[in-house]
């Protein structure tokens, strides 16, 4: 009889250590708090698929807001109301567009484009797989520039296993919707969805145990030579595959070097999360947020992405009484019952985001909290999922950005302002300025000034 198998590690870790994660809060390693005077700035980008019911997103009072800055009101509609407790810690941004998600002559496939386009701001090439082509994503631009400062240049988290199939959306490879993070225009960074694996990667990592890693350098040298030899024999696409391999070796080598030189990386005294993937979305996403917080807290990384669910997600939410697949529901075509269900899913997602904000806000960091020293975006590559609208995207920018943001406001930007402009502004605040990202046309204003 086939059945679910459990990984061997269950044996090694033993069930006894599998304590629920909320305990993490109390287990902040003391030394990280006082270690540096000026805490670094962190960024995390959270993605929800299939758009958001916009009537339940933007506060009524802001519908007629003029271009520019308005104060966030106290009354919020249902979806954003779960974020109301953080109204002075976040901004809502209106008018941002991802033009690259649109067809631009390539026909249908808005979901396929929306995911890969979201952080890259580059219109993905329509392909069933062989020649993936989009841009380098915001997080990876930052990761590349910040590499070496922390053990992990970035972490990629998710709450839904990717889809295996040739074309997920009208000729767009599933790779486009399986990852929002792209290291190169053709190399997606897969999201880890298993909490235990994230934990072990961060804190059980081999390079932290010098005895286990005694010969790693010799091995890496040898396989690097193997790969270089192979690379000279190969051409074209084969070379690209070997280049990815070589990049990954160098990445690990850097990590080993940084573990040796960086004393802030000692693993926290925190029990490992359970081995399985919680079936309940809320539980799953919260454990991932706990881990992300822990990674920021220990300065293991400063850049994270969280793919809460995949574009065109077939996921149903029985835990809140919705047995239908999310994506199908979003094509509600005006049906009230379906709109209601999508609203509930949107609320459910936003609640998990609120959990993260509360968590970051309650985590001391230097002279303030982790939320003060972070920029967290929450949003979707579609606004109205029913109409596949790529404009006026629902976007929240939360956190203080190390004093570079003035939260508590709503900013309406001119129609069709590229989302990339926000990303350029964020990179600037991370101390890694760029001229442009994808189809950006400048740097977004009104984030800290009047």
């Amino acid at each position: 009889m086939p059945g679910k198998s459990l990984p061997r590690r269950t044996l090694l870790k033993g069930i006894g250590t599998a304590i629920a994660l909320p305990l993490l809060d109390s287990m902040i390693p003391a030394f990280t708090r006082a270690a540096v005077a000026k805490p670094p700035c962190r960024m995390a980008m959270l993605y929800v698929p299939n758009g958001i019911i916009m009537d339940e997103w933007l506060p009524q009072a802001l519908l007629q807001a003029p271009e520019g800055v308005s104060a966030l009101p106290s009354e919020f509609p249902r979806v954003s109301s779960v974020l109301a407790p953080f109204r002075s810690e976040m901004m809502m941004l209106g008018g941002l567009t991802q033009n690259g998600g649109r067809a631009l002559g390539d026909g249908p496939g808005d979901h396929g484009r929306a995911g890969a386009n979201y952080l890259t701001c580059v219109h993905p090439k329509k392909t069933n797989g062989r020649d993936l082509q989009t841009g380098i994503s915001l997080d990876q631009v930052a990761a590349k520039r910040l590499a070496g400062k922390t053990r992990f240049a970035s972490i990629e988290l998710g709450c839904e296993e990717g889809v295996q199939g040739g074309s997920c959306d009208n000729g767009y490879s599933c790779a486009y919707s399986n990852s929002i993070s792209w290291r190169t225009p053709s190399s997606p960074m897969p999201a880890e969805i298993r909490p235990r694996a994230v934990f072990e990667r961060l804190f059980g990592a081999v390079e932290l145990d010098p005895r286990a890693a005694k010969y790693d350098k010799s091995i890496l040298d040898m396989v690097t030579a193997d790969a270089q030899r192979l690379n000279t024999q190969l051409g074209g696409a084969d070379k690209r595959k070997l280049d990815e391999y070589l990049f990954s070796i160098r990445d690990l080598e850097k990590r080993i070097a940084s573990a040796e030189s960086n004393s802030r990386t000692a693993p926290p005294d925190v029990p490992a999360p359970p081995a399985g993937i919680p079936a309940d979305f809320s539980e799953h996403s919260r454990i991932m947020f706990d881990l992300m917080t822990l990674a920021f807290q220990t300065d293991s990384t400063r850049v994270a992405t969280v793919l809460l669910a995949l574009e065109q997600s077939p996921r149903a939410y029985p835990e809140i009484g919705i047995p239908e697949a999310h994506h199908g529901l979003t094509h509600h075509q005006g049906d009230k019952e379906r709109i209601e269900k999508v609203t509930q899913i949107n609320c459910f997602h936003a609640k998990q985001f609120a959990y993260l904000l509360a968590k970051l806000k309650s985590t001391p960091d230097g002279d303030g909290t982790l939320l003060d020293h972070s920029m967290i975006t929450y949003g979707s590559g579609l606004s109205d999922g029913n109409a596949h609208d790529h404009s006026n995207l629902p976007t929240v920018l939360a956190g203080g950005g190390c004093g570079t943001l003035k939260p508590g406001r709503y900013v309406r930007y001119p129609k069709e302002t590229p989302m990339g402009n926000l990303f350029v502004a964020m990179l600037d605040r991370m101390g890694v300025p760029v001229e442009s990202l994808g189809d950006s046309s400048g740097e977004l204003g009104y984030l800290s000034d009047i």
Binding site: M1, P2, G3, K4, S5, L6, P7, T10, L11, L12, I15, G107, P108, N128, G129, D131, E161, G162, Q164, N170, G171, C174, A175, N178, S187, M189, P190, E192, A197, R201, A205, A212, Y215, D216, I219, A225, A227, L230, Q233, G235, G236, A237, K241, L242, E244, Y245, F247, S248, I249, D251, P274, G276, A279, P314, A316, P323, E324, A325, H331, Q333
Partner: protein, 783 residues
């Protein structure tokens, strides 16, 4: 060559000359195509008004014409001769065998390869990130990438696997509780992983045992049964405190009558290791303490199951579900303790690794060379061997043991691109040249076994005789007969049919209360066994369309309405072909092509077109959301509402193909159960396809499909060739597909013919000679 080719950027391959274009092609296009596909209308996003240097485009045009899909029904058709002249003009064979991009092992291949290389039972790749797939399969070299995350997992896996191979797998020092499988919260308890849920109270799983030894299975039944059928008197007595002896006896007796004793059976790898009788009881909960079974187990993965076999024959499994949703009797938990009396024999892999007994440099060299040849699946170069030996020597110099030196060298091999990638040798020559012999061995073994070549195949490759027809045929036959060939069915068929998606397509429990994880599991197994039978008995591939047999157990048989089948084990039954027969009428396929809450004739129709006939409908026109069956009011049946939709001509072109096929399957609900009505509406399962073919119900629909067995065979051939090569097909592969199809037709569409012909085909046996390959690269760089 087919729709997938649309997305490929093929090498320049303009078979037709400008003169041919002007004299033959242009007039044809003007007469038959440009009416819709012009710059203004751009029907389906395509204009053929002006000539374009785009091989993929012309391949698609040729394909549509060849299949008779274009021009569409209802407009004047070209003569057969004209059409085929155009097709052959567009598809002049070029003899290009194509290029297979260096292909890293995917998760399944990694696990299998480690198993066959070292005999360890770890499955490290289960922890790797998901492999991206292309063209419907997860073994496409072009699509699979290496990320830092994956590389870290390679590093961790190499360490764990090399340790297990040299020193044995980690074993707890003394017997301990290794794991608890908890049935109570089986859906959502994160501490044990999500176990599958059974209304019949069963619990089943696999567990990877760390060592040879004895293990104890501690299990407990939970018993809430008296709540199911209890009488007022029973309830009264059960709520009363301080029962007299007489009342206790009375209650026990009443409980025995309302809920007769049921037998629990626990099996390990199918063999019974424990049984007990669970009776109705007084205090509702736990009649028994723990029951313990002890069994000797070899290291590695084993499956166990505890269940109440007679429940397999309950007319309605919900008999075992109380109104509050809690099950009457169920396996509360199974703990595994051990190992007791673990045998500390060296791991089996040691013998195959330490081929030389002394702890000398010469022996180290020999051991490493032998191992590396197998790990790299080809002879090792002197330089490679030298570097591996150096790594081992460094370990010794550091004062670590000889064995540790070998282990570190093995760890290095497992992280080498030579192990992780299947990068083929360049072969000198221009045009198409035969694949290097070890590469051919790998193509064969990864196609049939999803794993590395075994020693016998390696020897044929070493000897250079593998290309000899008699040797190749013998190897092929031997490999097909090997149990490892079940990988072909499991990996190919599950991806071809989309079976892996079944987990995500669970029917809504509120609307389909008879479907639980256990039944879904049975459904998946049914389709897998069916496919395996087609392979093992070398049946016609057309059996996939309408084969009159299947595999069911008691629950699935009852779900299907097949009488006379009892018990939990699936077994073969012959069918009359009326309601069931062939994969389209299997519950797995019917479920995965439905919404969770209801059927969708559109999705089912699309599934058949895409997966069986290989003629996927084009995507909906730009900026129109995929057609949804809107306004789910109750005034009209689903069918009527869809008919209304098709009044829109733009939608009708494709939905006239999809929807009727789905209508033909409307007698099956969204979980695959037979139905005559959908709510208040009687089912109308008739359909009329473009071109006027009409049918009534699934049986006649299958006759229609059977009449298009040419399309089906072509589709299956293309899919399997894609899987076998690990690359998407290109226009120049069409002659190879045509040749396979011809042989299939001559051999009654036998499954073995398909396999044999694929392995004989030009793209499988040949590669681009070095000079041609370099030339192409130069061209593509220049562009």
């Amino acid at each position: 060559m087919r729709a997938v080719a649309w997305f490929l950027v093929a090498a320049p391959l303009m078979a037709q000359t400008p003169q041919e274009y002007k004299e033959t092609l242009q007039p044809f296009l003007a007469r038959h195509c440009v009416g819709c596909h012009n710059d203004k209308l751009r029907t389906a996003g395509l204009s053929l008004e002006a000539y374009r240097e785009d091989a993929a485009l012309w391949a698609k045009v040729a394909d549509k014409i060849a299949r008779g899909l274009m021009p569409p029904a209802g407009v004047p058709q070209p003569s057969k001769a004209d059409a085929s002249a155009i097709v052959s003009l567009l598809e002049k064979p070029t003899g290009d065998p194509g290029h297979i991009t260096a292909h890293r092992l995917n998760r399944v291949e990694y696990n299998n390869t480690v198993r066959d290389l070292l005999g360890v039972s770890l499955h490290p790749a289960d922890e790797f990130p998901l492999d991206d797939a292309g063209y419907g399969f997860d073994n496409i070299g072009d699509v699979m990438s290496v990320s830092p995350l994956l590389f870290e997992k390679y590093a961790a896996a190499a360490r764990a696997v090399s340790r297990a191979a040299i020193y044995g797998e980690p074993v707890p020092a003394k017997p301990t509780k290794l794991i608890r499988f908890l049935g109570k919260k089986s859906q959502d308890d994160p501490t044990v992983g999500a176990l599958d849920f059974s209304m019949r109270g069963a619990l089943w799983a696999t567990y990877d045992f760390p060592a040879d030894g004895e293990y104890e299975f501690h299990m407990r039944d939970a018993n809430y049964r008296p709540r199911v059928n209890s009488s007022p008197r029973q309830r009264e007595l059960s709520l009363k405190r301080g029962l007299s002896e007489a009342e206790k006896a009375e209650l026990l007796e009443l409980n025995r009558i309302s809920d007769p004793a049921v037998r629990m059976v626990m099996t390990l790898d199918g063999k019974q290791i424990l049984t007990e009788l669970v009776e109705g009881n007084i205090d509702f909960a736990y009649a028994h303490g723990e029951s313990v079974a002890r069994a000797r187990v070899t290291a590695g993965e084993h499956s166990f199951r505890a269940s109440y076999p007679e429940f397999a024959d309950l007319p309605n499994p919900r008999t075992n579900v109380n109104p509050d949703g809690r099950r009457g009797v169920f396996i509360d938990y199974i703990d595994i303790w051990g190992p007791y009396n673990a045998t500390s024999a060296p791991p089996r892999s040691r013998k195959s690794i330490f081929v030389c007994p002394e702890k000398t440099a010469a022996c180290a060299s020999k051991i490493i060379a032998t191992l590396a040849r197998r790990a790299y699946r080809r002879p090792v170069t002197a330089q490679e061997q030298d570097e591996l030996v150096k790594v081992a020597a460094l370990v010794r110099k550091n004062g670590d043991s000889f064995d540790e030196g070998i282990r570190v060298a093995l760890q290095a091999m497992l992280m080498s691109p030579n192990f992780l990638f299947r990068a083929e040798h360049e072969v000198a020559g221009s045009g198409a040249v035969p694949v290097e012999t070890h590469d051919l061995a790998c193509r064969l073994s990864y196609f049939l076994w999803s794993s590395m070549p075994d020693e016998e195949l390696m020897r044929a490759a070493d000897a250079g005789t593998l290309q000899t027809p008699s040797v190749f045929d013998a190897q092929l036959r031997r490999m097909m007969a090997d149990p490892k060939s079940k990988s072909l069915v499991e990996n190919f068929v599950s991806q071809w049919l989309g079976l892996r998606l079944l987990d995500r397509k669970k029917p809504d429990p509120a609307r389909f209360p008879l479907v639980d994880d256990e039944l879904l599991d049975n459904m998946r197994e049914e389709t897998t066994l069916f496919a395996r039978t087609v392979m093992q008995e070398d049946r016609s591939i057309l059996d996939f369309l309408d084969g009159r047999f299947t595999f069911v157990n008691g629950p699935l048989a009852r779900f299907y309405g097949i009488p006379g089948i009892e018990g939990e084990a699936l077994r073969r039954v012959e069918l009359d072909g009326e309601k069931r027969g062939g994969i389209v009428t299997q519950a797995s396929i019917l479920t995965l092509s439905s919404y969770a809450t209801r059927t969708s004739p559109v999705i089912r129709g699309k599934w058949v077109l895409e997966n069986l006939l290989g003629t996927p409908p084009p995507p909906p026109p730009p900026d129109v959301p995929a057609l949804e069956e809107k306004n789910l009011g109750s005034a009209a049946s689903l069918r009527e509402r869809l008919e209304q939709h098709r009044a829109n001509a733009a939608c009708a072109v494709c939905h006239n193909q999809m929807d009727p096929i789905g209508f033909g399957l409307e007698n099956y609900d969204a979980s695959g159960a037979w139905r005559d009505r959908d709510g208040k509406f009687p089912i109308d399962s008739s359909g009329t396809l473009p071109g006027g073919t009409s049918f009534q119900g699934s049986k006649e629909l299958k006759q229609v499909l059977r009449s298009r067995s040419d399309l089906f065979a072509r589709n299956l051939t293309e899919k399997m060739l894609t899987y076998a090569l690990g690359r998407g097909l290109e226009p120049y592969d069409r002659p190879a597909v045509d040749a396979i199809l011809q042989r299939l037709g001559e051999n009654d569409y036998k499954f073995s013919t398909l396999i044999t012909e694929i392995t004989q085909s030009r793209p499988f046996r040949m590669r681009r000679g070095l000079e041609s390959a370099r030339k192409r690269e130069g061209e593509s760089d220049a562009r």
